[in-house]
């Protein structure tokens, strides 16, 4: 499981059948890694989320038919980590922020 910040939704007109009706979000890790995850909790751009990885987690949450192995399992209110080397909360890059705002305004 890892912490990541929501950049915004990812849209695809043509996608795997199992993703029908599923919301997929683009995320950034505190170290700048990029990933996409299925969201059923309603996370919004800029929010920190907890992502679990793996087909087992996927089967237990959204069902085995979903073609995505990263699932958002919690929306983080806060991280109690004074002096943490993770340096939370991380600011998104300017580019990410612009994209998140553009997506949120749709």
């Amino acid at each position: 499981m890892l912490l990541a910040r929501v950049v915004g939704p990812v849209w695809g007109a043509r996608h795997a059948e199992g993703l029908n009706g599923r919301k997929v979000l683009e995320l950034r890790t505190p170290q700048g890694g990029r990933l996409c995850a299925v969201d059923a909790l309603g996370a919004g751009p800029g929010e920190w989320v907890l992502v679990a990885h793996g087909s087992r987690v996927r089967d237990l949450t959204v069902g085995a038919q979903v073609a995505e192995k990263d699932i958002i399992i919690a929306i983080v209110d806060g991280v109690d980590s004074p002096g943490s080397p993770l340096e939370l909360p991380l600011e998104l890059t300017e580019d990410d922020d612009a994209r998140a705002r553009r997506r949120a305004s749709r």
């Binding site: 499981m1 912490l3 909790l41 793996g54 087992r56 237990l60 949450t61 399992i73 929306i75 806060g78």
Partner: protein, 141 residues
């Protein structure tokens, strides 16, 4: 299993029902472990009461989930998942704190033995490893 240090605790109100009451810790691994994404931390469920600054051993994957389910007295095998998260009572997790470390003994300077690479730490070098510490900890790939 990953050896790491607890650096924080996560608070979340909107979460999967299976996570209700779970203590979520942010753990910084001491050594590189090949995560699926570019991260220098991991999040694990804690049932042992680990505190910030303590070294812990984190188990990843399906065994962690089964162990947690066993601790909760629940069946490790979940019913068929329905659409969405609603009504779920199982644990969609893949990392758990399996032990709180009291002491780590490392052999004397393995870096100097032929054919051995020095331990390379992701973050600050823990006290128990000072004898083996490289002069400047690298990114640890």
């Amino acid at each position: 299993m990953i050896l790491g240090r607890v650096v924080g605790e996560i608070w979340a109100t909107r979460k999967h029902p299976g996570l209700a009451g779970a203590k979520l810790l942010v753990v910084q691994p001491h050594l590189w472990y090949g995560p699926p994404f570019e991260v220098a931390h991991l999040v694990a469920i804690d049932t042992l009461g680990a505190g910030e600054g303590e070294d812990v051993i984190v188990c990843l994957g399906e065994p962690a989930r089964k162990w947690l389910a066993h601790c909760q007295g629940a069946a490790a095998e979940a019913p068929a998942a329905g659409p969405g998260y609603a009504g779920a009572a199982w644990l969609p997790v893949e990392a758990a704190v399996m032990a709180i470390v009291d002491r780590v003994d490392v052999g004397a300077a393995p870096a100097e033995l032929p054919g051995q690479r020095p331990l390379r730490f992701i973050g600050p070098v823990p006290g128990w490893a000072a004898v083996n510490a490289p002069t400047s900890p690298g990114p640890g790939k």
